[in-house]
């Protein structure tokens, strides 16, 4: 990744910016700040200039996060704030708000169920309809739905999931599509057990292989087809087993339940998150048979989440495995995110750097490059394809904060 020199846009916020969000096409930008304002910027066609098209006081406290809904639902934003509310905003087309031609954004609803500061708000993937999830400082996760997408004023609280500890972040699994009904599964082959490892039998393409060993003999990997969302907690008192909670929708009951994730015995000690979680992000699944979940704590942990069915087709359970540890920041990591196709993972931390991570081929001369900030629990990736690692995660770019030398 090579970048051209950064181009600056003066935000005109009067306090620290907390979040910047881009719309589906990367052409509109929403910013929110401690000054309680939200601003929307539009990229002008043809060139790379960004012009402010709206600003308004959205809350009566710091605005923590801002999120765009999918354009299928129109130009819609959600914000959450220290003032204990989350709000949904819609742009009024054709109506200029003031003389300089700025757009008017109308508050469609105010979600006031939380009794504490609302820490994060995220829209669900569009295939679920117009859904959004919020999480609060008191640990309550709320899922709201707009049953009529033409009427954004009407939101119903679908469910509240209480989780005792202070929640910090939400990530929906983007890979749920309602249309695909068939279930894919792969047999885990137990035949060449001599090194105690198993491979997916059906796929001869090493790239798509299941990335590590499974203890259960003759089980199947079932590609998960349930709506899923992960919540991270940054409470100091939170136990290691509750740092990340994954909710899945039981369509039959129309309820969100906590997923019981078992971790494999071999990496039990490394796989639980012991430090506060500040951000997490599901990667787009593409053609994989499992999901990748990146978690930002003291370092970056990359988890593999998969659904395993035993040979008698009786039980289906989720498994969470630690696939890699990225320690490049050497400090707390605050934010983490994937690009739209999941080929690049971006993170920022207390080292005042933004780092870009990418899966790169391992060359024979790269042996000494392996510790460029990524370590992996030894057993996992060495057995990736049973033939040594061909791909590994590597830091491919660093963006650093430098003061002006005046």
């Amino acid at each position: 990744m090579l970048f051209s020199p950064p181009k600056s846009i003066s935000s005109e916020h009067k306090d620290v910016i907390h979040d910047v969000a881009f719309d589906h096409y990367g052409r509109r930008m929403a910013t929110c700040s401690s000054d309680q304002f939200v601003m929307v910027w539009d990229k002008e066609q043809g060139d790379d200039n960004w012009k402010k098209s709206a600003e308004w006081k959205a809350h009566s406290g710091s605005v923590w996060k801002v999120a765009w809904a999918h354009p299928e639902f129109g130009q819609v934003l959600a914000t959450c704030s220290f003032d204990r509310t989350a709000a949904v905003w819609e742009e009024i087309v054709g109506e200029s708000y003031n003389i300089i031609g700025q757009k008017h954004w109308a508050r469609r609803t105010n979600l006031v169920d939380s009794r504490t500061s609302v820490m994060d708000v995220k829209f669900a993937p569009k295939s679920l309809g117009l859904l959004l999830a919020t999480c609060s400082a008191d640990g309550v996760i709320r899922i709201y739905e707009a049953p009529d997408v033409m009427n954004l004023a009407q939101w119903t609280l679908q469910q509240e999931v209480p989780c005792k500890y202070q929640a910090s972040c939400i990530s929906w699994n983007p890979s749920y599509t309602r249309e695909r009904r068939c279930t894919k599964y792969f047999k885990l082959n137990n035949s060449d057990k001599k090194e105690g490892e198993m491979k997916i039998h059906d796929l001869d393409n090493g790239y798509a292989n299941y990335p590590f060993m499974v203890e259960d003999p003759d089980s199947y990997i079932v590609v998960p087809q349930v709506p899923m969302l992960a919540v991270g907690f940054d409470d100091q008192n939170c136990g290691a087993n509750n740092r990340v909670v994954i909710l899945q929708n039981i369509t039959r009951l129309r309820r969100w339940n906590k997923t019981e994730c078992s971790t494999s015995v071999t990496d039990h000690c490394t796989s639980s998150v012991t430090d506060p979680v500040h951000d997490l992000a599901f990667a787009p699944r593409l053609g994989r048979s499992y999901d990748l979940l990146a978690v930002a704590t003291k370092d970056i942990k990359l988890y593999v989440l998969c659904q395993i069915m035993n040979s008698s087709f009786a039980t289906v359970k989720f498994k969470l495995h630690l696939a890699a540890n990225f320690e490049g920041h050497n400090s707390t990591v605050w934010r983490i995110s994937w690009n739209s196709v999941g080929s690049i993972l971006v993170s920022s931390g207390d080292d005042r750097c933004v780092r870009l991570w990418k899966q790169c081929p391992v060359g024979p001369y790269d042996k000494n490059e392996e510790d460029r900030g990524v370590s992996s629990p030894s057993k996992l990736l060495d057995s990736v394809q049973g033939q040594g690692r061909k791909y590994h995660w590597k830091c491919v770019g660093v963006i650093k904060a430098e003061g002006l030398n005046i």
Binding site: L2, K7, R285, G287, W338, N339, V341, G363, I399, K400
Partner: protein
């Protein structure tokens, strides 16, 4: 700059330096960063320690080969070759075809370099880096083509290596041809430069040219020079067509070599130390390396020279031995750059490493994808799991990169189509995130999605466009998009929204829907609400054309069948009012019809709690008027019906 390096970018911002930094992903390649500090728990709710401050957001655009006009041509040309390479089934001719395609690729690289040179002259564009990168790629590609894509006859590689090294060092040719042109007698040729030129020709095994240059020497008529000329003339060169078996050739070569050595030891050339040097090289007299070193630019140039003079029949698998020796002469393994490593891997026939190295080139994976594709098609790639090369991740990365560009997405699509595991999903995601600026692009994208069987994508794109038009109040266009994707859900939503708007006072002209609704045909039936809407339009049309009876019967059917949404009943009843009040001729509504109207009216008047229509202006007064009209109509029809001769004596009364 051949290598792709980890880039560190500095963001010059005071606040960033004080507070720290965070980011947001713009799209596939671009990133924005902004100053950020997570507030301490005790500071939450207060303004931050940096306030008042004005944070800036910085946009970082990823550079790619798509930004450059010359490289764009390269992308397009290589795409055409890629598609043709994939569209023909493999048969016995395929090896030959792959070779041709490889040459096409190389010629487009050469063309690109040429264009860049021109651009540097004409418009001062800075292409130096790119020329270096492309030259390195071409060098590797050419060698790979000679060693792995072309057939190597009886494992003898030297002729190919010579061809390779000659093509890639052209700088001397011009000088030498100039010298030859001036002819005999000029004084400079006795100087150092003259012998340097002769040596450089020898290194490239250009013996004819060496002879021509030697003949220009002022002492060319002396016995020593005549002997040298005879030796050079007689040098055995192995070609497939020379008619000799490798064993025969070997015998001849040895005989020639011992002849050279005997002449050297006889002191034939001792009068001319420079000529003696030349003969020493020809005779392969040790030590060759120090003699050749000053005349070779690279270790691989030296390799071909060494092989020519010491082991012309060298086999592929022995190359590594000689390569190591040459590398030692040039400072050993530690001095090697990426390019050298790649070439060494090619000599080792380790294609997996070659490709891995190519992937590190700063060309966004362009060369790795296309070369691997050809190697893959020609069956050169090793099937054993240790050294297997996955083409898919390369295709995927390259295709994804192209697809993120509004100019190249159709080309990127072609590459992604050949990714069996991740291709389809990737296409779906990226098609959806293409900005649809106008209808033309929309149709292109929809067409691409359809032909790939991605109906979800078609649906999503149409929904986005439909919603855009709904928000602009243009229901007709919105409906067209919903119909394009046959999306019943959205059709219902739009029809509903339309009816609602209409019932709350918007005219059809404002909603701009009439034209679309009249030409719907079959698709009306994909959504119940839409069917109703169309029927209602039929009613309006009949009414306007004066076909009152037809209009009345449609209206009654709409009310009776109860497919109308409740908020629309009031509108329907209002529409019935002028028909009820028609005083000319027989009443348009029969007795039964009037009863149906009345029943609907009463239900509306009672159960209006959740009905938004009741908020409309003088709802109650209107209800009264309609009720009165219905009653009058009832009375009239009752009278008419009782007077008319009828079989049934019962009259239903509510």
């Amino acid at each position: 700059m051949y290598e792709q390096t980890i880039q560190t970018i500095d963001v010059p911002d005071k606040l960033c330096e004080k507070s720290g930094i965070s980011f947001s992903v713009v799209n596939n390649n671009d990133i924005s960063v902004f100053p950020f500090r997570k507030p301490l728990p005790q500071n939450i709710g207060k303004s931050s320690e940096f306030a008042p401050c004005e944070g800036s957001v910085y946009m970082l655009k990823a550079n790619s080969i798509m930004d450059d006009p010359e490289l764009r041509k390269l992308i397009n040309e290589s795409h055409a070759i890629f598609v043709s390479s994939r569209s023909v089934p493999t048969d016995e001719n395929s090896k030959h075809r792959v070779l041709e395609q490889s040459r096409e690729h190389r010629s487009s690289i050469r063309q690109c370099i040429e264009n860049m040179h021109q651009a540097m002259c004409s418009r001062n564009a800075d292409y130096e880096n790119w020329i270096k990168i492309l030259e390195s790629i071409e060098l590797i590609w050419h060698l790979c083509e000679l060693l792995h894509l072309e057939a190597v006859h009886s494992d003898i590689v030297l002729p190919k290596l010579i061809e390779w090294s000659r093509l890639n060092s052209v700088e001397y040719d011009e000088n030498i041809s100039k010298e030859l042109h001036f002819g005999k007698g000029a004084e400079i040729r006795i100087g150092e430069k003259y012998w340097v030129q002769i040596m450089s020709l020898l290194v490239e095994s250009r013996f004819e040219a060496t002879r021509a240059l030697l003949r220009l020497h002022s002492e060319a008529d002396s016995k020593s020079f005549m002997e040298a000329d005879a030796i050079l003339r007689g040098i055995p060169i192995y070609t497939i067509y020379c008619g000799l078996s490798p064993v025969e050739f070997n015998g001849r070569w040895r005989a020639w070599k011992s002849m050279v050595r005997s002449k050297i030891s006889a002191g034939t050339f001792s009068a001319f130390p420079h000529l003696l040097n030349v003969m020493n090289i020809l005779g392969g007299v040790e030590p060759l390396f120090p003699l050749l070193k000053p005349h070779c630019h690279t270790w691989y140039q030296m390799l071909t020279a060494i092989l020519q003079f010491s082991d012309p029949m060298v086999k592929v698998h022995d190359l590594n031995y000689y390569a190591q020796q040459c590398i030692d002469q040039f400072g050993g393994l530690s001095k090697l750059r990426l390019l050298d490593h790649t070439i060494l891997a090619l000599f080792d026939a380790d294609l997996a490493t070659v490709i891995k190295k190519l992937q590190l080139t700063a060309d966004n994976g362009w060369s790795a994808v296309h070369l691997t594709n050809l190697l893959h098609l020609s069956g050169c790639l090793n099937k054993s799991p240790e050294t297997a090369v996955d083409l898919e991740p390369m295709l995927l990365e390259y295709g994804q990169l192209l697809m993120s560009h509004k100019r190249f997405w159709q080309i990127g699509l072609m590459y992604l189509k050949y990714c069996p595991t991740h291709g389809k999903e990737s296409i779906a995601i990226q098609l959806c995130s293409l900005p649809i600026d106008n209808t033309k692009i929309a149709f292109k994208v929809i067409e691409a999605a359809r032909s790939n069987g991605l109906y979800d994508v078609v649906k999503s794109i149409c929904r986005v466009l439909a919603m855009k038009h709904v928000k602009e109040g243009n229901y007709g266009n919105a409906l067209t998009w919903a119909l394009t994707s046959k999306d019943a859900e959205v059709m219902t939503q739009i029809a509903d929204k339309y009816l609602y708007k209409y019932s709350t006072g918007s005219s059809d002209k404002e909603l701009n829907c009439h034209n679309i609704l009249t030409g719907l045909g079959q698709s009306v039936f994909s959504s119940g609400r839409l069917t109703f809407l169309c029927k209602y339009c039929d009613f309006q049309r009949c009414y306007q054309q004066g076909k009152v009876n037809e209009a009345a019967s449609i209206l009654i059917k709409l009310l009776e069948s109860r497919i109308s949404p409740k908020y629309f009943w009031f509108t329907l009843l209002l529409d019935a009012l002028p028909l009820l009040e028609m005083k000319i001729g027989t009443p348009v509504f029969s007795h039964e019809d009037s009863n149906i109207l009345l029943a609907n009216l009463e239900e509306l008047a009672i159960g209006w709690v959740d009905n938004p229509v009741r908020k409309t202006h003088n709802f109650n007064d209107q209800i009264k008027i309609i009720r009165l009209a219905i009653t009058k109509n009832l009375a009239r029809t009752l009278l008419l019906q009782s007077n008319a001769p009828t079989n049934s004596n019962t009259i239903i009364c509510y």
